[in-house]
Amino acid sequence: MSFIGRRAFFSLGYRLHGKNNGISFARGLSSYSSAESGSKEHIDDLVKKDDIVIFIKGVPEQPMCGFSNAVVQILRMHGVEKFGSYNVLDDDSLRQGIKDYSSWPTIPQIYFKGEFVGGSDIMLEMHQNGSLVEELQNLGIRSALLDGEKQ
């Protein structure tokens, strides 16, 4: 399908199905998703699936934004291996949905036990002032930085 053909197909699909029956095409050409991925119910599920959940641009192995990368690197520094990560660049509905969910206009977003913690500035400050170590402790995770200090 040609570039123009694809675009016409998507906009036609969007008009035919409307927004409310659960089928809609995202505006972008390279990414599309069902309307549910950005719904409150779906995001509720995602943020509670793991103790730590992040919504970033890109994937932890290759973040596509410096702020998203900062969040991943801070978690790594504390030895946190297990966390849920969702790439908003792959899903326009999720990208908008997560902003609405937390009433927070920017990505990345971090959640501990389903609760919104903040964005990369807040994560960085929590890392710098030591409160992240405590927050991780509350999640039952021992920060690797504590072990580093002992040695």
Partner: protein, 102 residues
């Protein structure tokens, strides 16, 4: 959303960091704001950031793509008035522009 408002501002710095990103010359897309205000006293970081986001909601809904916030009280600012460096761009903006998104 924010129930409090930033009324008293001691220091306000707005830094255009767009040139750190893959955007056309002269762009106004990536910003850092440093706000020092008594109104942040006894408020969590998340509440402070919400207050700043609220002031800038029209800009964020429009052309502003990234906003880094440092929100401090005057006493915090007098102890440490360094402004942290924003991380380097990792190319996501180029992909987003290619996808025709803001």
């Amino acid at each position: 959303m924010a129930d409090a408002q930033v009324q008293r501002t001691n220091t306000l710095e707005v830094i255009n960091e767009s040139n750190m990103h893959n955007v056309p010359k002269g762009s106004e897309s990536h910003f850092k704001v440093v706000v020092v205000s008594m109104d942040f006293e006894n408020l969590s970081l998340i509440k402070r950031h919400r207050m700043v986001n609220d002031v800038l909601k029209d800009e964020l809904a429009g052309g502003v793509h990234a906003l880094s916030i440092q929100a401090k009280t005057p006493s915090q600012w007098s102890q440490n008035s360094s402004v942290s460096q924003s991380p380097a761009c990792l190319g996501g903006m180029a992909r987003e522009m290619a996808n025709n998104k803001s």
